[in-house]
């Protein structure tokens, strides 16, 4: 555990030692504002909730999370520091977890900085704060799931650009798998259990459950499993081809 925190601390400090953190946070907040107030019609709706804010998070994360995750391992490969890191007495699993947690905490921090919008909605009306809290949790969990995918993709290559593209593509598949347009491709010929399986893989369905305030243990387990699966894959990818 100590090894994980050591790596976590280094990584987290790394975000703020470069402009990465500040650029990301500014863009994240601006995009959130644009989506919520223009596309989401926050004021026009006249409802005291944050639905327009949370509705766009999956699409925001689709691009912003891979932007954070792309450097996790690709950069270590490019700079050769992977050789330093993985010859320290830390396991590959500890290194993967430390880096993941640092990035996840960082995304959590960016999310926390949107609290003014929560304050605003409380000032303007009388929202159900339980639902909002649940939606925040759901948003962070979904970010974690995507981050795990991105971290694994980043371990595949030494190019951050390739890592970014692979991550966006993989996250896109996970987002869309529940939508009708994807399901239509399979329905008719695929057996029902497969259809259910594909539908239940979707980030969207689980996220929308949570963000409506319905906290189902299955949704939580889903995100934990997705993150766990991809992080495990991340470890395996690294173990198999550390030095390439």
């Amino acid at each position: 555990m100590e090894a994980v925190t050591t790596i976590l601390r280094r990584e987290l400090a790394g975000y703020f030692a470069t402009p990465v953190a500040y650029v990301f946070i500014v863009i994240y907040l601006v995009m959130n504002g644009v989506f919520t107030f223009y596309l989401g019609g926050f004021f026009e709706r006249g409802l005291a909730d944050l639905e327009p804010f949370f509705r766009f998070h999956p699409w925001l994360y689709l691009f912003l999370v891979p932007a954070i995750s792309m450097r996790l391992w690709a950069e270590e490969r490019r700079a050769g520091t992977i050789e330093l890191l993985l010859t320290l007495p830390v396991t590959t699993g500890q290194a993967v977890l430390g880096k993941f947690l640092a990035a996840w905490l960082f995304l959590g921090l960016a999310l926390l900085l949107t609290v003014p919008i929560w304050v605003t909605v409380n000032y303007l009306g009388d929202p159900d704060n339980g639902v909002i809290l649940a939606a925040y949790a759901g948003s962070w969990l979904m970010a974690g799931g995507m981050l795990a995918i991105g971290s694994c993709m980043s371990a595949v290559t030494r190019s951050q650009v390739i890592a970014f593209i692979l991550s966006v593509a993989a996250c896109f598949v996970f987002l869309l798998s529940g939508l009708p347009m994807v399901m239509n491709v399979f329905s008719g010929w695929a057996p029902q259990f497969l259809l259910d399986g594909i539908a239940s893989l979707s980030f969207l369905s689980h996220y929308s459950d949570i963000s409506r305030g319905v906290i189902d243990l299955r949704d939580l387990v889903y995100f934990v499993l997705v993150a766990g699966f991809w992080l495990l894959a991340n470890v395996i990818v690294l173990e198999l081809r550390k030095a390439d």
Partner: protein, 305 residues
């Protein structure tokens, strides 16, 4: 102790390391020599557990580098080729990170860092961002990182590459100081460094071990071992006279210098007596211990010049 048994690493058809076996004992400073692409770095990567061997095994202080990788890595300090480090960190932050990751107790982390900062003359750049350091300073940060936990086994891939002559001297002194109770494996292309530092040399080429000897033993393989070289105006005439001596096996003139090779002992005395007797105007007369670069070429290219 390092025990390597039939270690091999293949990249597709290329045998980067081919059936290498050796052991290294504490107190030995082993120099890895070999032409570019010989497999030196690949061997070191396997010793440090970074690269899995295709075949064979390596043990560090009894711990297998694959099966018991963590324990093996705990005994090690490693400077990878090119001395990679986290460029966005300051020198001190980077060293603190490595110290913590190496499991140095929190109380001692700062003293450990200050100690290596002192030993590698990094005090002036302690708070500088690594990316802004010159190449030599970066190499010294890499060395500091490798010795921060006072490891029993040190593996250094080209430790003095890019250092100025003063720093080279300092680093060699540092390595010599640490040598008595440690195992140190270094790779280098600087042959004088091998003579200055190592008490054992392994020459590898195309992944195979070609020679395993002391520096003195290697030098003794040189054609020039115990030869005598002199420089004068009229070396050809001198050559013809000297080749008559019973102590001289052969005489060779090259670039205005005459080298005579021994047939038996006492060559230097015989030559200097001759010089005195004939009253030749000799501008230089020297005894040859042997030339390591020539041995290196001979062994790695199979050529004898």
């Amino acid at each position: 102790m390092i025990e390597v048994k039939s270690l091999s690493r293949h990249y597709g058809h290329l045998k980067a390391v081919d059936d290498l076996s050796f052991t290294v004992e504490p107190g030995q400073v082993l120099g890895f020599l070999g032409p570019n692409g010989a497999g030196k770095s690949t061997t070191m990567k396997m010793l440090t557990g970074f690269l899995a061997p295709t075949a064979g095994s390596a043990r560090i202080n009894g711990h297998d580098v694959v099966a018991d990788s963590l324990a093996a890595r705990r005994c090690l300090g490693y400077l990878p080729e090119g001395a990679p480090s986290y460029g966005e960190m300051t020198v001190l932050d980077f060293l603190l990170f490595v110290a913590r990751a190496r499991g140095i107790p929190a109380r001692e982390v700062h003293t450990a860092c200050e100690r290596v900062v002192d030993r590698l003359n990094l005090a002036g750049v302690r708070h500088q961002v690594i990316d802004t350091l010159s190449k030599g300073f970066r190499r010294r940060v890499g060395l500091a990182q490798a010795i921060i936990h006072d490891p029993a086994v040190l593996i250094l891939d080209e430790p003095t590459d890019g250092l100025d002559p003063n720093q080279k001297h300092e680093v060699r002194k540092l390595i010599a100081e640490m040598a008595s109770d440690k195992i140190i494996v270094i790779s280098t292309h600087i042959l004088e460094e091998v003579q200055a530092l190592c008490n054992r040399v392994m020459i590898i080429s195309q992944g195979r071990l070609l020679a395993d000897d002391t520096p003195a033993g290697l030098i003794a393989r040189s054609r020039y071992h115990n030869a005598v070289t002199l420089a004068a105006d009229d070396v050809r005439r001198i050559a013809s006279v000297l080749s008559e001596l019973p102590e001289v096996a052969r005489a060779e003139v090259k670039e205005g210098e005459l080298t005579v090779f021994p047939a038996g002992a006492g060559l230097f005395d015989a030559v200097s007596r001759s010089v005195a007797e004939h009253g030749w105007a000799v501008s230089e007369l020297r005894y040859e211990a042997g030339r390591l670069d020539e041995v290196f070429r001979m062994i790695t290219q199979g050529e004898s010049a």
